[in-house]
């Protein structure tokens, strides 16, 4: 019998027992291919150049993520194969006792890995290619592009990349196997099965104390990232604290609960002695007892999965939803008013002089008349002075601010944007925002970036006065008013000081802008106008004049669609891989347990337990084993998601519920799928032949 034949036999045998391992490998390969082939799926889409740029960026990000994913899958594969090899100790012992050299045993494993590799890559790539056809629909939908025609897509690049990455992983697995075989001692191989399970009884009092302490610590960690975030998290490094506390207390909760639950259930005499309950709970508690560390890791990975999936999905949803509200006009053109300092930055004296003419004049000089293209437009100015920086608006409230916010994140020395109330109202009118009026000695602040609004509101509530252009003004409102001037895809207006018209000093004009709506409704023609404005740079006169920066609704929408797609794909990619990695470990553990416990079920049958009872007990064991880490992860996630949405509050959280539902669907499908397969396989294993 040749080595290869032995390997082949072993694979054939383990195919049945470790279907989950193969399934996971195949899934891993397929997912890897699908996400790396996204680029080639976008080739057929009818999208603009700027979308292509975003797609390019997305491809780069997904490639980078693939390296990370390869690490996760690599660890999973090594872990799983070590796990499976450990269970074959006796087999290797027999080989050695029959006089087989360690080198030859390594060869058997080597061929096995090659066989597994070839099978999983072939099937996985096949599945990946099929799935990527579905994926291209999702891609088209994401980029809001029409699928001009259906075409079968095969990405050679992604295929080669998958082969290389997984090839490397399998080679590493081979090395690990060889090292493992080299290290093992015959006596350990032969005697492993003889070691009987030692039941470590945990001290009930100690368990209770540890459990209470962990829950308190965890509660504090939760408090740190939600209610108490402003007091506890002052520097970015502080964010590590609740994470570390959370991880450690999760470990101890699993540790103490494994002891406690059994005791509690044992206390409930009626429940404990009913049917096979005693057996079921003993099994579960010993399982959790021996896998506290893995349970912790799995639970934390699930927690990350839930947060990543739901946050990324809600980010994408809210981005698109915000567009109508945050980019209400077609185009915004801005020229910065320059002084002599700009000479150093590559502007010539003519440009500096002409910059004071404003957007309209500069464009006219370049032969572009706004009125030919826009049916309505407003012009406004932004003023800035070094006499009014952010610090100055805080006044005496600065201390209070420093006490409660991340001080390193506050832009103390940034010059404030200042606008006259009539300019602001003009802009507000074209945007359909609320208009305001101010008395001569009053100012107000318009902002919509939550974190800054909160800080500014402290000063406004304290009625802090500001001095601007020689006038002292007091706040009209005791809070920021919602609004913005620059169109964007998100709530990022950190504050504009609106002052009475007669207070302003024209010498401090910093920007001149025009906001307008096109005459045409057609997207294609709007794009043409934007091309014309962008093309003005080719006009020889542009060396004397100033080209305005262009901010258009079309660009914003494309960027936000692109960014949304990027975040979604990245989130899906990482989330699914994390989910699969954690649930696969659970499933493998459960399956090997079932093999070990075959004798126990045989015994139960001899005692007269019928199949229905046994299957029920098995189902409950697996269900508890799967649900336990998930439940802890879900509790973590409730607070984790809150923290995430606080961090990314710019994006709004209107869409959180939808994305949580989406996440739940993913988890139910993948987690539930693995659960079912595990149950069916286990049932098969313990079935009497």
């Amino acid at each position: 019998m040749t080595t290869i034949k032995l390997s082949f036999r072993n694979i054939k045998k383990s195919f049945k027992d470790y279907a989950i391992y193969f399934f996971t490998l195949i899934l891993g390969v397929a997912i890897f291919y699908v996400f790396n082939s996204i680029e080639s799926q976008t080739v057929l889409l009818d999208v603009t150049e700027s979308t292509y740029e975003v797609i390019g960026m997305m491809t780069t990000m997904l490639s980078a993520a693939s390296v990370f994913v390869a690490f996760i899958l690599g660890f999973l594969i090594i872990y799983a194969s070590r796990f499976l090899i450990k269970r074959r100790n006796k087999e290797f012992g027999i080989y050695m006792l029959l006089g087989m050299s360690k080198r030859k045993i390594s060869m058997i494993l080597f061929f096995e890995t090659i066989l597994i590799g070839i099978i999983s890559l072939a099937v996985g790539l096949g599945l990946g290619i099929l799935l990527s056809q579905l994926m291209s629909m999702l891609v088209a939908n994401m980029f809001e592009a029409d699928m001009t025609k259906y075409q079968f897509i095969f990405s050679q690049d992604a295929c080669i990349k998958t082969l290389i990455y997984f090839g490397i992983m399998y080679v590493i697995v081979m090395l690990f196997n060889a090292i493992n075989v080299g290290k093992c001692k015959l006596i350990d191989l032969i005697q492993t099965s003889k070691k009987s399970e030692t039941i470590k009884l945990k001290n009930l009092l100690l368990c209770t104390v540890v459990f209470i302490l962990s829950v308190v610590a965890l509660g504090y960690a939760y408090y740190m990232v939600t209610g108490g975030i402003n007091e506890t998290v002052k520097t970015p490094e502080d964010i590590l604290k609740p994470i570390v506390i959370g991880a450690i207390s999760t470990f101890f909760i699993f540790w103490s609960l494994s002891g406690l639950i059994l005791k509690i259930v044992m206390g409930m005499k009626n429940l404990y002695v009913k049917g096979l309950n005693a057996f079921t709970f003993r099994q579960v508690s010993s399982k959790i007892n021996t896998t506290v560390f893995s349970m912790t890791i799995i639970s934390l990975m699930l927690f990350v999965t839930i947060c990543v999936l739901s946050s990324s999905l809600s980010l994408k949803n809210s981005m698109t939803a915000n567009l109508d509200e945050l980019a209400p006009a077609d185009i915004q053109l801005t020229i910065s008013v320059k002084d002599d300092d700009w000479l150093n930055q590559g502007y010539n004296e003519k440009q500096i002089a002409n910059s004071k003419l404003g957007v309209r004049k500069n464009l006219e000089a370049l032969n572009f008349n706004i009125d030919n293209y826009f049916n309505e437009s407003v012009e406004y100015n932004i003023y800035r002075t070094e006499d009014l920086v952010f610090d100055d608006t805080l006044g005496d409230s600065k201390k209070e601010v420093e006490e409660s916010y991340l001080t390193s994140m506050i832009p103390y020395s940034v010059e404030e944007m200042i606008m006259t109330v009539s300019d602001y109202n003009n802009v507000a009118k074209i945007y359909n925002n609320e208009e305001y009026s101010l008395n001569d000695n009053e100012y107000m602040i318009v902002a919509d970036y939550d974190s800054m609004v909160q800080i500014r509101n402290i000063a406004l509530k304290n009625n802090e006065e500001i001095t601007v252009f020689g006038h002292t003004l007091k706040p009209k409102y005791n809070e920021c008013k919602d609004g913005f001037v620059d169109m964007s895809s998100n709530h990022i207006n950190s504050g504009i000081i609106v002052i009475p018209d007669n207070v302003v000093d024209e010498n401090y004009k910093a920007y001149n802008s025009i906001i307008g709506n096109y005459k045409t409704e057609s997207v294609d023609e709007q794009r043409k106008i934007e091309e014309i404005i962008k093309g003005l740079i080719n006009n020889p006169l542009s060396e004397q004049y100033n080209l305005p920066t262009i901010n258009t609704r079309l660009d914003i929408s494309e960027a936000s669609i692109g960014l949304g797609a990027l975040v979604t794909f990245l989130g899906l990619y990482l989330g699914i891989v994390f989910l699969i990695a954690s649930v696969a470990i659970l499933a493998l553990k459960e399956l090997t347990e079932s093999t070990d416990n075959k004798e126990r079920y045989k015994m139960l049958r001899k005692l007269g337990a019928d199949e229905k009872m046994i299957n029920k007990s098995l189902f409950r064991q697996i269900a508890i084993f799967f649900m336990f880490p998930l439940l802890v992860a879900i509790i973590h996630s409730i607070f984790g998601i809150k923290f995430c949405s606080y961090i990314i509050s710019t994006f709004g959280n209107e869409q959180l519920l939808n994305s949580i539902i989406m996440t739940a669907v993913f988890i139910v499908v993948i987690y539930g799928g693995y659960f079912l397969i595990t149950y069916l396989c286990s049932k098969n294993i313990i079935k009497e032949k």
Binding site: M1, R9, K13, E91, I94, L97, L98, G99, M100
Partner: protein, 255 residues
């Protein structure tokens, strides 16, 4: 007759300095070619440790073990593998057959590791299987066989390579009395007709009565030794029982 196995002042310690267990304590004896030796002793007497040391599963702390004149305590690497595959046959209490392979393949594996030709393998396996009465089960997988059949397949695997010595660790431990008797008859056959040297560890006096010599071990030392000689198996069995009774009370629980 020539000496095939020589145990020379073998010691085996377990544990750390603070709690040292002497599993084998200056143990010496010899086994001649063609002998069928049973080693008896209570649990913890060191009999399995002894077997593990002879089979190179475990290493001795001091002393030497010679098999066919070769000091196996000095063997390493490929020489160790060579010793195992050419000079040693091992039979376990729980059979240790590979469940991915058929009976035929399990037996032939021992030969194919020695790179024998397929033709020779087929002939030798079939010959031996006929002699041991397992020809019918050759194409079956371990899970399709009875315990007795499995143990005879395992025995066939152990002797197919014509080893200098066959080591058996409680070979009847997992068998019912009928299967036990059949297996022991097989051992008898191997020993008488094929001149196989067998060293068997057992705590079963009936099992030991099939041997030509019984060595009793207590606390890692040879306690007693009795030879069957020309006496009948029944007489030999009674003699064994006497020594077992002498050895200590707990052993009597089995009978």
């Amino acid at each position: 007759m020539s000496t095939i196995l020589k145990i020379d002042k073998v010691e085996k310690y377990y544990g750390s300095k603070s709690s040292l267990t002497k599993a084998l304590d200056n143990l010496s004896f010899e086994v001649d070619k063609g002998e069928f030796v049973a080693i008896m002793g209570a649990s913890g007497s060191g009999k399995t440790t002894l077997l593990n040391c002879i089979s190179t599963i475990d290493k001795v702390t001091s002393g030497h073990i010679f098999v066919g004149g070769e000091d196996i305590t000095k063997l390493k690497g490929n020489n160790l593998n060579k010793f195992r595959r050419e000079k040693l046959g091992f039979i376990f209490q729980d059979f240790n057959l590979l469940d991915t392979l058929t009976a035929y393949e399990n037996i032939s594996l021992a030969l194919s590791i020695q790179n024998k030709s397929a033709k020779e393998i087929e002939k030798r396996v079939n010959d031996l299987a006929t002699k041991l009465g397992i020809k019918d089960v050759l194409q079956k997988y371990p899970y399709q066989m009875s315990g007795g059949q499995k143990q005879r397949v395992a025995s066939a695997r152990a002797i197919i390579t014509d080893p200098q010595i066959v080591l058996a660790d409680e070979p009847t431990g997992a068998l019912d009395s009928k299967s036990s008797r059949m297996l022991l008859e097989s051992f008898d056959y191997l020993n008488e007709k094929l001149n196989t040297t067998i060293l068997m560890v057992t705590h079963d006096s009936f099992c030991a009565s099939y041997a030509s010599r019984v060595i009793f071990i207590k606390d890692g030392k040879v306690f007693n030794e009795i030879i069957k000689g020309n006496s009948s198996r029944k007489d030999f069995f009674d003699k064994i029982i006497d020594v077992v009774t002498l050895l200590g009370g707990e052993e009597n629980d089995n009978y």
